[in-house]
Amino acid sequence: MDKELKAENTKPILISRPVEPLKIQTDKLNAWFGNNHVLKDVSLRIKENHVTAIIGPSGCGKSTLIRCMNRMHELVPQAKVSGAVLLDDANVYAKGVDPVSVRRKIGMVFQKPNPFPTMSVYDNVAAGLKLNGERDHARLDRAVKRSLDLAFLWEEVKHELDKSGSSLSGGQQQRLCIARALAVEPEVLLMDEPCSALDPIATAKIEELITNLKDQYTVVIVTHNMQQAARVSDYTAFLYLGQLIEYGETTNLFENPTEELTERYLTGKFG
């Protein structure tokens, strides 16, 4: 795989061509679960320090796409991938690349908040760092505070760091998971429907957080909620039956989609 994607290899359906640096590029990405071909030649360019939303009907491959980005897809038995995912210039699927190091750089937050149930708030956030061998208490303290701050959670839990992570509210648990992901200082944060289990207040906090995070991270969010995609993202990709149908600036895509399929999906005429 070439270090830089050549223009002729990628056919992004961009309404406006980005000028800012790209953080992740997928090139002819294909994914399977056994014989089920779930992603078909997806070539997508994700801009650094922006929020990109992936939308599409159930089963279109949204979650699989982001799970391919940090090599989580291959954890499923009989799952298979072809094509390339470049993080900056490096193919994360190149020979010899350790998937764990990829996942350290590309963190993930899931649909259902999943703090480690037996761990305290503090330990939940520090877990990744400890796993990486960090033992210095002062450094751990700083990292935990920084991550909880970034996740808009510090003020709410600073006097209860010893409390169990599972005792927090659903919205707080999700922000704890975001803090946990941020603690290992990833470059990209993938979010798979992070608000689908949350009430509107908790959702609003996460959305504000996402908008805030893009100053330091590249964020890719999968969402079923089109209004959420419209609110938080700078770019939106529409997937249908495993294919990238349209990709462009969120405002353009929601106001004036170029593809008939996108128009029909957005206006609720199918899906």
Partner: protein
Amino acid sequence: MARLMDLGLEKLRNMVLDMAELSENTVSTAIDAYVQGKDLRERIYNWSEELRMLQDEVSELAVEIIARYQPVASDLRFVKSCMEVAYGFSRFGRYAHDISDVFGIFGDLSTCDKTAIERVGSQAKEMIRLSIKAFTERNVEMASKLPKMDDVVDDAYLDFVKRSATSPDSDTKCMISGTLILRYLERIADHATYVGESVAYIVSGERAARK
């Protein structure tokens, strides 16, 4: 399967079409009244007020649709355009009222040459008719004829102003009243053109550059 939002969009469309009919009639009546020397100020004022209230109702319904259904893509463009078009129709009413008001300011204008106003008035009426038809049928080709028609109105207005300013025989009352009415007709033609631009925006998302 019909969407819940479709009920709201249909209602919005019908309200805008009601406004279209009333605004066309209001402008037409105001022009004819001037040409025939009739004082229909009160009737035209009432219609103009009705148009203004209808515009408020269109805006309220559009906001309600946005709040309830968060329309996107062509639905969003349609709702946004309905608000703009309703504003245009409301302006038709306002300019018709201004035309009829000229009678109140100047009184009897029977000695004035009304040829230019009759000609431009017919053009403006035709533009309104065409813009409404294009909007109703979402006919971009029909709407695309409006800018050229607007140029004709603009030229006629400027020509009248220049002639009035340079002609030694100009009757001041006729010159000023004629200039005012042609100015109102020129603005009506602009708004008819904007209605046509909305048609292109609804259908293709293309925005025309405003002059």
